[in-house]
Symmetry: C2
Subunit: 228 residues, 2 copies
DNA sequence: GTCTTTTCGTAACGACCACTACACAAACAG
DNA sequence: CTGTTTGTGTAGTGGTCGTTACGAAAAGAC
């Protein structure tokens, strides 16, 4: 049943406009993207923007939410689909190297770079909280890996999670600084090479040897389609 | 011979004001720190600021320059004083963990975080160029280390430099996100643990084993006779 | 058709931005 | 003292910020 609206219909596609706002925020950050910039790239006037999305901050929050569910969803996918902590974080880093340099959208990660310098503390804190949550999920995954015997019992889950998060954030800024996809892939491999050796029998496909020279081909891990 | 100036003497100390401006830019970034913020923390009026430092952008450039020569000088010190590439970058990362969390000034690194979101491309590019130069000096140091036999011949200097730079930048943002000194020290150790094993005879004290659990004490590296 | 509802574009709002004109104050030169 | 030079505080400049009042336009309801 198609229930049409009562008044004048909207002259633009809301999701398309949201995607265009995402690109602008992704490229220039929250503070640096003005409402005038937004109305230009979205192709609509300021009153239309405010009536469809609330104010600038609310629009940004919606952008972050949809970003997390589309561009940022590969992380959760890696965590649910990969059998081990090492495979999950390894895949996350390798796929980040691709996403961060993928043509068709700005470089790096919106949640990492869009509110670094921000005079609205709530916005800065919101992204910080998301990063913190990601770090906690890293740590939980690693801890479960230790309990499952994938990783040595003495492994410091908090430190390894923090290390992985730092590498991820470093990769994002490196991408924005001009690093190539191969550069980032090599960074990911180097980071993974410092993980404790896998317990024999677990995690067999993942490198027991180190890969110091070049970025390897994508490891033949579980077949996982990687979308948007 | 004290040559006094001709006109009315300045009522504030220029270096002190510069340091206060440094703190403001360090904490909030270039764009987010307004001239009104600056005049407030520097304790002077806008015309005094403009007459003493030029415009906001020129002041920021002077801030970055003096920052690089004071807070940022430990990097060059590590590179000139340490005998090996591994020791130099290891010391850089370990000292960064301290500086980034040191009380008395903002967290993280000004050159990494102060112009991430910036609507003045020249400012953003200026810091990017400094980061790029640091990366190049990493790479040169590592390449010389390979030539000197400290590191395996097949080592990818560019990739290892990029990895080190990414970890450094990740540590800076982690510091701003609330990581403790111990957290960052562990990140540094983890990063160093992925370096290729030292060639026997060179760099003997540096971990041939890995240090997965906790941040180690600063390693007592060999004073091996190898001039920087 | 008229009424109601919703969106549209124009054109503004006050607040803040980086920056400066101007007159006064404080030093030295003579 | 007078004249010159330089810094200071007040009070502004034009411009952009995020946001909105307002009336015309476009749809369904009747």
């Amino acid at each position: 049943m198609v229930t049409r609206q009562r008044g004048r219909p909207r002259s633009f596609d809301r999701l398309t406009a949201l995607e265009q706002a995402t690109m602008a925020f992704w490229e220039h950050g929250y503070e640096t993207t003005s409402v005038a910039d937004l109305t230009r790239v979205m192709g609509i006037s300021a009153p239309s923007l405010y009536s469809a999305f609330g104010d600038k901050r609310t629009l940004f929050e919606e952008v972050v939410e949809t970003y997390a569910g589309s561009y940022g969803s590969y992380g959760n996918r890696a965590f649910t689909e990969e059998p081990t902590a090492r495979a999950a974080i390894g895949r996350l880093l390798r796929e980040s190297a691709e996403l961060y340099t993928e043509p068709g959208h700005p470089r790096g990660c919106l949640m990492i770079s869009a509110a670094v310098n921000c005079s609205t503390p709530e916005v800065e804190e919101a992204l910080r909280a998301r990063r913190e949550a990601n770090l906690t999920s890293f740590e939980d995954r690693i801890r479960r890996g230790i309990e499952a015997g994938e990783l040595p019992p003495g492994t410091d889950a908090r430190a390894l999670a923090r290390f992985s998060g730092a590498v991820l954030q470093g990769m994002s800024q490196q991408a924005r600084d001009g690093a190539t996809r191969e550069d980032l892939a090599a960074v990911a491999e180097w980071a993974m090479s410092s993980w404790p050796a896998a317990t024999p029998g677990q995690d067999a496909a993942e490198a027991p040897e180190r890969a110091h020279a070049q970025a390897r081909e994508k490891a033949p891990e579980t077949p996982a389609g990687r979308g948007a």
